[in-house]
């Protein structure tokens, strides 16, 4: 059974139809990439999957693990194992990174019927994952995303993913604004998450990230639907020729 199965999804924002009939299926263990020009609806898709308010689903279905995903609230989806790495992570003044991670992890654990992690174990657990992403204690003591550089924000998103260990992770332009070194660190963090039970959906505008996170499938999103699908070589073709031909076809 597919981990995620999107069928004929049409969705609107402020009365404007953005997704116009999108189909996509991700099996456990697979890495999919969605590429598309700016404004093609990539973030819209990621927000709808994560359960953000303000999007109107006109028709279609989204099944996660066989169940109706759209019937769940955002927090229920997250606890069911869906994780969205935000394109624009949000500042949380007054909430330290440590407190944020601990709260989120313990909510996940208690919802699975596990006990909360004790403070010392948690510290070890987070530090081990943070170190791999070049995040030190100092950064974890800061307020979430407040005054973070673009790279710090993206690394902190990946740390959240590593701590929460989701079953389906959606990464919305996690590569944007990163220099090559930061990109490699982030890609290593993502690759470490690959596993037989986990699905990954990498949303990106550029092919560059896919040199480091090699996808099993690549899809082109244009005019609100999947205009083409292929293997990793499709990404290279897009890099060379651009999105024009998909936009023309759709127009």
């Amino acid at each position: 059974m597919a981990l995620l199965e999107i069928s004929g999804l049409r969705a609107a924002v402020d009365g404007k139809e953005i997704l116009t009939g999108l189909d996509l299926a991700i099996d456990p263990g697979e890495v999919h990439a969605i590429m598309g020009p700016n404004g093609s609806g990539k973030s819209t898709l990621s927000h709808i999957l994560a359960g953000r308010d303000g999007y109107e689903v006109l028709s279609g279905t989204v099944r996660y693990d066989g169940a109706d995903l759209l019937a769940l609230s955002a927090d229920e989806r997250a606890r069911a194992g869906i994780f969205l790495a935000f394109q624009y992570p949000v500042e949380l003044p007054g909430v330290t990174g440590m407190n944020f991670l601990k709260t989120a992890l313990n909510v996940a654990r208690t919802s699975r019927g596990e006990s909360e992690m004790d403070a010392m174990d948690f510290l070890k657990f987070v530090r081990a994952r943070a170190a791999k992403l070049g995040i030190d204690d100092d950064m974890l003591r800061r307020f979430v995303n407040v005054g973070f550089s673009g790279g710090e924000k993206k690394r902190f998103e990946i740390l959240q993913m590593a701590v929460l260990e989701p079953r389906l992770a959606i990464l919305d332009e996690t590569d944007s604004g990163l220099d090559i070194d930061a990109l490699k660190v982030v890609a290593e963090g993502v690759n470490a998450m690959r596993g037989p039970d986990r699905g990954l959906l990498i949303i990106t505008h550029y092919q560059r990230l896919l040199d480091y996170i090699v996808p099993d499938h690549v899809h082109v999103l244009a005019n609100g639907r999947i205009a083409a699908s292929g293997g990793k070589e499709l990404a290279l073709e897009l890099e060379e020729k651009g999105y024009a031909r998909f936009l023309e076809v759709a127009a």
Partner: protein
């Protein structure tokens, strides 16, 4: 036809009613009380109380006609049959509420209904020369010391509540630290109102004098027992000599039947520090007035606070920082959290006199409105007469950030817990102004227990 002022019709003749206005609240109870107040045999004190009473009679309780009281009605007090607490025997209170007992480690002085309670107070082990005592006791034994200081900063004129307090004052905390003495542990001033069957009025009068280079932390806590109404009208005078440092941290958790009015007047010498934080979360109506006069060069005033207003509650903060010298600094950081049916008032003023060059003054009041029907009236004011200054103020009011809420929910945190977390973080940014880490944590715990009642337990 143009109507001149002169031709305005006269009001119809009516007989003048000699006693049309009832005497202001409590003033008719003074005669019966005066003789029983501590120090009633002292002529100077009799004069001071008498003048204060006259001044209070003339002005009456503040009404909404006064600019500073426009948003703050005291009408409900008139409906209470208030008796001066001095006239009622204090009910037996023989244990402290746990939160007060645990708030801070160190010496403590307890007042029940405004009367010193030696049995519950713990004042041993203080350094030589330190005076920490009750006003009532000192009026009996060292009246000259009190005469020299009381009523110097909080003058009754033009301040009816200070006048009312002075007319009835009998007890309170007196602290005097000799030059250079530093108290390692905070002193805890514990106030408990126990009105018993009938509504009472309490008029605490506190005096804090730090001589040159002396330093201490004063923690104040306020609570009440039972559900009978009471009215606390506290006046505190604080005099800080050059290089003295006072941290003044207050927790007001009065009962929902309480009206809590408090004014603090501070005189700040050269290079002295007054660093205040007030948490107001209790009472039906609470009003904290803080007046700081920076008269010494490089004096520094920090006046911060958190106010939490649930349905039916009103929390007021009034500040007035006067920069009356060169090179002084003031900081204000207030955060209000207001729920449906709750109300907050912030009137903050920075006044920079003409000669107060190089003043650095900043004021911030930020308010979180938790639900429709939450109200805030904010009036920040800068009045600047010097030309070389750095002054600013900011005021914001709004709801929780939807993007931040979604971010938390997208990490699995349920909406109610997410709201709670962001509200705690919001208030925490002012609680963080408390310099001492232990106290900061104690006060954060008080904020959390308020959040527990509003949002339920944290995630």
């Amino acid at each position: 036809m143009p109507v001149s002022l002169k031709s305005r019709p006269e009001p119809p003749d009516r007989p003048m009613l000699e006693n049309a206005m009832p005497p202001p609240l409590l003033s008719d109870r003074h005669a019966a009380t005066a003789a029983r107040l501590p120090g009633s045999g002292l002529a100077w004190l009799g004069d001071l109380r008498g003048q204060a009473l006259a001044s209070y009679r003339a002005e009456g309780l503040p009404t909404r006609k006064l600019e500073a009281w426009r948003k703050t009605p005291l009408d409900h007090l008139a409906g209470l049959d208030l008796a001066p607490a001095e006239l009622t025997a204090p009910p037996a209170v023989d244990t402290l509420p746990p939160w007060q007992r645990e708030l801070v480690q160190g010496p403590s002085i307890v007042f029940v209904n405004g009367h010193h309670h030696p049995g519950l107070s713990r004042l041993s082990g203080l350094p030589d020369g330190v005076l920490i005592d009750s006003l009532a006791h000192l009026l009996e034994h060292r009246p000259a010391l009190i005469e020299a200081h009381i009523g110097r900063l909080a003058t009754p004129k033009g301040h009816a509540l200070a006048a009312l307090n002075a007319a009835f004052m009998g007890d309170g905390l007196v602290v005097r630290l000799p030059a250079g003495i530093r108290l390692d542990q905070p002193l805890h001033l514990i106030n408990i109102a126990a009105p018993g069957a009938g509504a009472i009025a309490i008029q605490p009068r506190h005096l804090v004098i730090l001589e040159a280079g002396a330093a201490m932390t004063l923690v104040e806590s306020h609570t009440g027992l039972g559900d009978t109404a009471y009215f606390a009208n506290a006046v505190t005078e604080i005099s800080l000599a050059p290089k003295a440092r006072l941290r003044h941290i207050k927790a007001q958790l009065e009962t929902p039947a309480a009206t809590h009015l408090a004014s603090v007047t501070v005189s700040l010498g050269e290079d002295a520090l007054y660093d205040a934080f007030t948490l107001n979360s209790g009472a039906l109506l609470a009003r904290q007035e803080t007046y700081v006069d920076i008269t010494g060069r490089q004096g520094e005033a920090r006046v911060n606070g958190v106010y939490l207003a649930a349905a039916g509650q009103q929390q007021d903060n009034v500040t007035r920082i006067v920069h009356d010298t060169t090179d002084s600094l003031s900081r204000q950081n207030f955060r209000g959290v207001i729920d449906a049916g709750g109300k907050g008032v912030f009137q903050g003023k920075i006044l920079v006199k003409r000669h107060a060059q190089r003043t650095d003054g900043h004021q911030l009041n930020r308010v979180l409105l938790l639900a429709p029907g939450a109200r805030i009236d904010a009036k920040p004011e800068l009045e600047i007469y010097a030309d070389d200054v750095k002054c600013s103020h900011g005021a914001t009011a709004g709801e929780l950030d939807e993007d931040a809420l979604f971010y938390l929910c997208a990490r699995g945190i349920p909406p109610a817990a997410a709201r709670r977390m962001l509200t705690e973080a919001f208030a925490g940014e002012a609680v963080n102004e408390i310099a001492d880490q232990t106290l900061r944590q104690s006060f954060m715990a008080l904020v959390r227990s308020w959040l527990d009642t509003r949002f339920g337990a944290p995630a």
